[in-house]
């Protein structure tokens, strides 16, 4: 009797809604599998281990950037400076290739510059209460401009993407497992556990869900926000290093095209732009979905413009589905 009742409950729309709301990863992974299935049908034999490796490799930087958006969106913010910071990090490191300090110095300088940008973002958002959207847009102008100035200074010394980054960003083990997972997996575990288990992670949710309640409970939002935006900028810088290694190019606008997809991946992954709801796991699947989708549209032979149109439409459909089933934005 009870099993019968449970079965019928599974079939009700409410049960489906609950599934979507409580376990958003399940339908997302379902969507991912469907997309992979369509690719397999469209071009039989393409899906295999090497293909999965390529997809994974392309998804890693996007997933990291989506992580920046998830963390900031949990507090009701957003970080639109990640594109500029990521490009800057890749570019600055490349300019140090022929210098005495070499690549380690370059990476250190890039990370320090990124942390500084994040610090200013955090102070602006946390202390001065500037809207995160506009604060990070302004910061992206500053970072881009300074990177350009740096470019003019360094143009004589010659630059190239260091071999280490190329190996890390585009190399694979046995032509399947991308080397970038060495960076990504520890980072992923840290973020996932940090959000779930650490006080800092819980504070992010608390501040985004109800800032007043968080303040009355003794949370110092400004301290949290400063640390948060520094973390976000550092993640963006690491993603930028991987992107420059993946594409074997270093330019001051390299990662700009990843900015909007990073927001899209976070949104598809179930993170609310209004704060308080979401997680990194969904964003990783979101980044995979976007990468597979791009691959699918390429396989179908669609030209770039059509891909963009479909890309935008799918983001809206997924976001609308979320809003419908969860009853909130």
């Amino acid at each position: 009797m009870s099993t019968a009742v449970r079965t019928s409950q599974w079939l009700t729309p409410t049960a489906w809604q609950n599934l979507f709301r409580d376990r958003p990863l399940i339908p997302l992974i379902g969507l991912l599998i469907v997309l992979v299935g369509i690719i397999q049908v469209a071009q039989p034999g393409i899906v295999g281990l090497p293909w999965a490796g390529v997809i994974l490799r392309a998804s890693v930087p996007l997933a990291i950037l989506a992580g920046c958006q998830v963390l900031t969106m949990l507090t009701g913010g957003i970080d639109l400076s990640v594109g500029a910071v990521a490009s800057m990090a890749g570019f600055v490191t490349a300019t140090f290739v022929n210098s005495p300090g070499g690549v380690p110095l370059g990476i250190a300088v890039a990370l320090a510059a990124a942390a500084l940008a994040g610090l200013v973002n955090g102070i602006g958002v946390g202390v001065f209460r500037v809207h995160p959207l506009i604060m990070t847009i302004g910061m992206s102008f500053v970072v881009l401009g300074l990177a350009n100035v740096w470019q003019l200074q360094m143009v004589q010394t010659g630059a190239g993407v260091p071999g280490v980054l190329r190996t890390l960003g585009s190399g694979t083990v046995l032509e399947v497992v991308p080397n970038s997972l060495v960076v990504f997996v520890p980072m992923m575990l840290l973020i996932l556990l940090g959000l779930r288990r650490s006080g800092f992670g819980r504070l992010l949710y608390a501040i985004g869900d109800n800032p007043v309640a968080a303040r009355l409970s003794g949370a110092r939002a400004w301290q949290v926000l400063i640390v948060l935006y520094v973390i976000s900028a550092l993640l963006a810088a690491i993603a930028g290093l991987l992107i420059s290694g993946l594409t074997n190019t270093a330019s001051v606008s390299l990662a700009d095209t990843s900015l909007l997809p990073s927001v899209a991946a976070a949104v598809i992954g179930g993170t609310s732009i209004l704060g308080g709801r979401g997680g990194f796991g969904g964003a990783i699947v979101g980044a995979l979905i976007l990468t597979v989708l791009a691959a699918l549209l390429t396989v179908l032979g669609l030209p770039e413009p059509t891909r963009q149109v479909l890309f935008g439409s799918i983001i809206i459909v997924v976001a609308a589905a979320y809003t419908r089933v969860t009853g909130e934005a």
Binding site: I78, L80, V120, G124, F128, R129, V130, H131, L133, I134, M135, I137, G138, M139, S140, F141, V142, L144, G145, L146, N148, V149, Q151, L152, L260, V263, A264, V267, S272, I273, L274, P303, E304, P305, T306, R307, Q308, V309, L310, F311, G312, S313, I315, I316, A319, A320, Y322, T323, R324, A329
Partner: protein, 329 residues
């Protein structure tokens, strides 16, 4: 006695007007200082430069007006740059090699296209209840994709009369035609709206959607109308791009983020319900003048980009610090 009271009332209401528009007036004063400063450092700054200034700021000024309307209504439109690209390539492609009269039909058609684009954006926001920023972010891909479908590379042409509307002086050689075009647009679109019931509704839903709803304001319809107006202004901005460059470019320029920056600098609150379109227009001119001055001072153009970002962040930090102080007092 009554006379004295009337005068006092007039003075008081003037005072209220000044206080309400303090931000815009301050910006205007700053612009005047900048103009004087420009004339001092570059005595050769003459009518030709003023005309050039008018023509070059017009697209961004119109984009800022477009963004201001939707932000006042409590939304945001991240697809303005893409809508400009789409309307610009459509107009340039249709006008190439055609008669001047046909150009009139094209302009009317493109303005209607802008209305449709805005209606789609607004309709999706209202129907799906997905946050504005997500919907318009996704639509920015869609409109940019359509722009590339219309024309893969920059090209096309513009009717002579359209170019004449925005290039060159009118009456006095110091008055750019672009400035007159801007005034006409504001007079035809913004002033009637702001004085009507619709204008009141737009401010109402922007400042407190729930209160507006309970007071009987049709929230959905008003939001849709705001997006339609934004689409119309974005189409005007796209036409001005075609007119000032003589061609259509399918890749969106930096107009989306710059328009958000200009709107906030112009005293429009991103939370909605406050500000107007004059502030953003002045802010656009100020930003461009700062760039011009830095060129005259032989400052690296990339540092000019940095300066724009620093000014944006700095002004906002002090602006919100001022607000915080006042809120506490």
């Amino acid at each position: 006695m009554t006379n004295a009271t009337a005068t006092m009332n007039r003075v008081a209401s003037l005072g209220a007007d000044v206080r309400r528009n303090a931000w815009t007036l301050g910006l205007l004063a700053f612009l005047v200082v900048l103009l004087v400063f420009t004339k001092v450092i570059q005595p050769g700054y003459g009518p030709i430069a003023a005309q050039g200034l008018g023509t070059s700021v017009l697209p961004l000024a119109l984009a800022a007006v477009a963004q201001a309307i939707v932000v006042i209504a409590g939304g945001i439109d991240l697809s303005i740059g893409s809508m400009m690209a789409l309307t610009s390539v459509v107009s340039a492609t249709l006008m190439k090699g055609q008669s001047e009269e046909f150009g009139v039909a094209v302009v009317v058609g493109v303005l209607l296209l802008g209305v449709v684009l805005g209606a789609v954006n607004g309709g999706l926001v209202v129907i799906t209840r997905v946050p504005d920023i997500v919907v318009t972010l996704a639509m920015s891909f869609v409109w940019a994709g359509f722009a590339l479908l219309v024309r893969a590379a920059p090209g096309g042409g513009a009717a002579l009369w359209l170019k004449d509307l925005v290039i060159g002086p009118i009456g006095n050689e110091w008055i750019p035609r672009a400035a007159i075009a801007m005034v006409v647009v504001v007079a035809i679109i913004w002033i009637p709206v702001v004085r009507s019931r619709l204008g009141l509704s737009i401010y109402a839903i922007g400042s407190n959607q729930l209160a507006a709803f309970r007071s009987g304001v049709p929230v959905g319809r008003t939001k849709l109308a705001a997006y339609v107006l934004t689409g119309l202004c974005a189409a005007l901005a796209g036409l001005s791009l075609t007119a000032s460059t003589g061609i259509g470019t399918p890749v969106p320029g930096p107009y989306t983020l710059m328009s958000v920056a200009a709107v906030v600098l112009g005293g429009v609150s991103l939370a909605g319900g406050r500000g107007g379109v004059f502030g953003p227009i002045v802010a656009v001119v100020v930003l461009q003048m700062i760039r011009t001055d830095m060129t005259f001072l032989n400052v690296n153009t990339n540092l000019a980009v940095v300066a724009q970002g620093v000014i944006l962040i700095g002004v906002l930090m002090f602006g919100s610090l001022f607000e915080l102080r006042r809120a506490r007092a």
